[in-house]
C-alpha cells in the first residue's frame, strides 16, 4: 500500500510527473513561440526608439519615446492609408461573409442539376496561383477603368473559392430538420438562410471573417499594382513607400506597422469567442 500511494501522480514533485515526450513537445513549442514572437517584440521596441538608437538591438529601449507615434499620426498620409485599408478590408470581408455563405448554402442544401460540376469548377480556381491572375486582372481593370479605384483594389477578393468551400462544408452539418421546420412555418428560402442557417454557422462565419479581414488588411502585391496615386494606397503599400522615398526610416516603418496590428488584434479578439461557442447541436435531441 505504501509504495502505491507514493506512486500516485499528485504526490510527486512537478518535474517528476513530466513525461519525456511532453518535455520534447513543450520545448519545441516554446522555441517556435520565441521565433514567432521575437520580430513582434522587436517591432514594438524599435517603434519606441529614436532614429539614433535603432541599431542598438536591445529589447527594452534605453530611452523609450513616443515621438515616432506622434510623428506618424501627425503625418496625414498614415491616417489616409489606414482608412483606405479599413475600407477595403471591411467591404471585402462583408462581401465574402455574405456571398460565400449564400453560394455555399445553395450548394450544400439544394439538389439541382449540375451542382456538383459548379462545385468542382469553384474548387478548381483554388489551384490557380494569384501571380498568374494578376496580369488578367490588371488588363481587365484597365479595360473597365477600374485602375486606381477602391473597386479595383477590392474586386478580385469580393468572393473566394476557399470561403465558398468552407461555408458549404459547414452548412452541410446543419440538420435538414431545422430548415424544413422553418419551411413548414412559412418562411421563404432567403429568410430561412438568413434567420435559421446563418446563426447556426456563426463559428464558421467568424473564422471566415477573420481570415478575410487579415488577408486583405495585409495584402500588398495587388494593391501595389492597381494603385498609382498616393491617396489610394493601402497601409502596407504606403508603409513600403516610407522605405523607398526617403532613406529607410526603420523607426517610422515599425511605428506604422505596430499601429497596423491594432485592428487585426481587435478583429481577432472580438470574433474568436464566436468560434469557441459551439451552438449547433443544442437544439436537437440530447
Amino acid at each position: 500500500m505504501a509504495d502505491m500511494s507514493a506512486n500516485r501522480p499528485e504526490m510527486l514533485p512537478w518535474f517528476a510527473r513530466l513525461q519525456p515526450g511532453a518535455v520534447l513537445v513543450w520545448t519545441l513549442l516554446f522555441l517556435g513561440g520565441v521565433v514567432m514572437v521575437t520580430p513582434l517584440v522587436l517591432m514594438f521596441s524599435t517603434s519606441l526608439k529614436s532614429a539614433g538608437q535603432i541599431y542598438d538591438l536591445r529589447f527594452i529601449p534605453a530611452e523609450p519615446t513616443l515621438n515616432n507615434y506622434v510623428r506618424v499620426l501627425a503625418d496625414g498620409w498614415f491616417l489616409r492609408w489606414f482608412m483606405n485599408s479599413m475600407i477595403v478590408a471591411v467591404c471585402v470581408t462583408v462581401s465574402n461573409v455574405f456571398f460565400d455563405s449564400l453560394v455555399g448554402y445553395t450548394l450544400a442544401k439544394f439538389k439541382f442539376r449540375g451542382r456538383y460540376i459548379i462545385f468542382i469548377a469553384i474548387l478548381s480556381t483554388l489551384m490557380i496561383p494569384t501571380e498568374m491572375l494578376v496580369i488578367p486582372w490588371y488588363l481587365m481593370s484597365a479595360q473597365f477603368g477600374w485602375l486606381d479605384t477602391y473597386w479595383g483594389i477590392m474586386f478580385p477578393g469580393m468572393m473566394t473559392a476557399f470561403g465558398t468551400f468552407l461555408m458549404k462544408q459547414f452548412f452541410e452539418t446543419v440538420p435538414d430538420d431545422f430548415i424544413e421546420a422553418a419551411r413548414v412555418d412559412g418562411m421563404n428560402e432567403f429568410m430561412i438562410w438568413w434567420k435559421v442557417a446563418m446563426p447556426l454557422v456563426t463559428p464558421a462565419l467568424s473564422a471566415l471573417a477573420i481570415f478575410t479581414f487579415l488577408g486583405n488588411w495585409t495584402a500588398f502585391f495587388w494593391p501595389l499594382i492597381v494603385t498609382t496615386s498616393r491617396d489610394l494606397y493601402t497601409l502596407p503599400v504606403g508603409l513600403s513607400s516610407f522605405a523607398v522615398e526617403q532613406s529607410i526610416q526603420w523607426e517610422m516603418i515599425m511605428t506604422g506597422a505596430a499601429l497596423a496590428t491594432i485592428p487585426t488584434l481587435i478583429v481577432f479578439l472580438v470574433l474568436q469567442r464566436f468560434i469557441v461557442r459551439g451552438v449547433m447541436l443544442a437544439g436537437l435531441k440530447g
Binding site: E180, V184, G186, M187, V196, P199, L200, T202, A282, L284
Partner: protein
Amino acid sequence: MAEITLRSLTKDYGTVRAVHGIDLDISNGEFVVLVGPSGCGKSTTLRMLAGLEDISGGELRIAGRLVNDAEPKARNIAMVFQNYAIYPHLTVAQNIAFGLYTSGMSRAQKDARVAEVAGMLGLTDYLARRPAALSGGQRQRVAIGRAMVRDPVAFLFDEPLSNLDAQLRAQMRIEIKRLHQRLGTTIVYVTHDQVEAMTMADRIVVMRDGHILQVGAPVDLYENPVDLFTARFIGNPSMNVLDARVQAGRIIVGDQDMGACSRADGAICLGIRPQDLLVDGPGTAARINATVTAVEPLGPETLVHLDAQGHEVMATAPGRVIPAIGSTLTASADAGRLYLFDPDSQRALGRA
C-alpha cells in the same frame, strides 16, 4: 380545421416506389396514427402532406382544395419533428414566436399568443431560456408550442416521442392526447410504437412496404386484424402464431386438439393473443400443456413463456402467483378467441 383526403397518393424516388398509391380519408378533428415497421413509407407520406416532398402521383386535398403543388406555407399545416428542430440560438419565447414570423401580427399580439401557448404547455417559467438549458421533454413541448402558435388546420407529428425515455414518453402521450381534445385540430401522427398508436389514435393506419394494410379504430384492429402482419403488430406482447391444421372440424397443433372450427381440412395459421391464453384458465379452447421457460412478473399479472412440444408460446398468469420455471401447467383460452389465418396469403380467415 380541415379534412385531408389522399387519393392514390404515390411517391417515387427515381425508380424506387416508396409509397404505392394510398387512399385515405381523414376527417376534421380526427387523430390518425400511421404505424408500420421501419422503411414502410410513414415519414414519406407525412412529408408529402406537409409539402416537404414532391408528390409523384395521385391527389392530396386539404379542406377540399387540391394542394399537390402548393408550397408548405400555403397549406397552413404545422409539423413537429423527431429531433424537435428548435433553434439553439433563440430563446423558448423566440422559438415559439418563430411560427408567427409570417403572420403579420403586431408585436403585442404575438407576445400575447406566445404567452397563451406557453401557458397551455407549462412553459411559462422557461420563456427566457435557450434550448440547451431544457430537458428533452421540455424541448419537445417547445416544438409543439411552435406548431400550435399558428393555429394550423392540422398537426403532423413524425415520431415526436422516440427520443424520450419510457416514463416521459408515457406522460407526453397523455399530454398530446389532452391537447388534441382541447384544440380539436386534426392530427396525423407517425410512430412505429404500437403502444402509442393504440393509446392515442382515433383511427390507426397500418402500413407496410408503401401500402396501407388496414385502417380502423384501435379496438377494431385488435379484434379484427385483416392479416397476420397487423395481428402481430397490434397488441403487446405480440400474438402467438402456431402452424396448425384442420382435421375433421378440429384445429390440431402437433398432436394437441385446440378446439372446434368449421373450415375444410388443410393447413392453417393459428393466432392466440398472450392476454387471451390464461394459465389455469377456465377456457375450453386451445388447452395446452406446457413447460415454463421464463417468467416476466408485471405486478397484477405475469407473462409466462411456455414450451409446448417445441412451440414457443406466451401466456398470462393472472393474479400474483408466479409459476416456477421448469414446472408444467395448463393454459387455455375462451372459445372465440382464436384467430385463423391462411398460411399462404396470410389473410385472416375469421375466428374460432
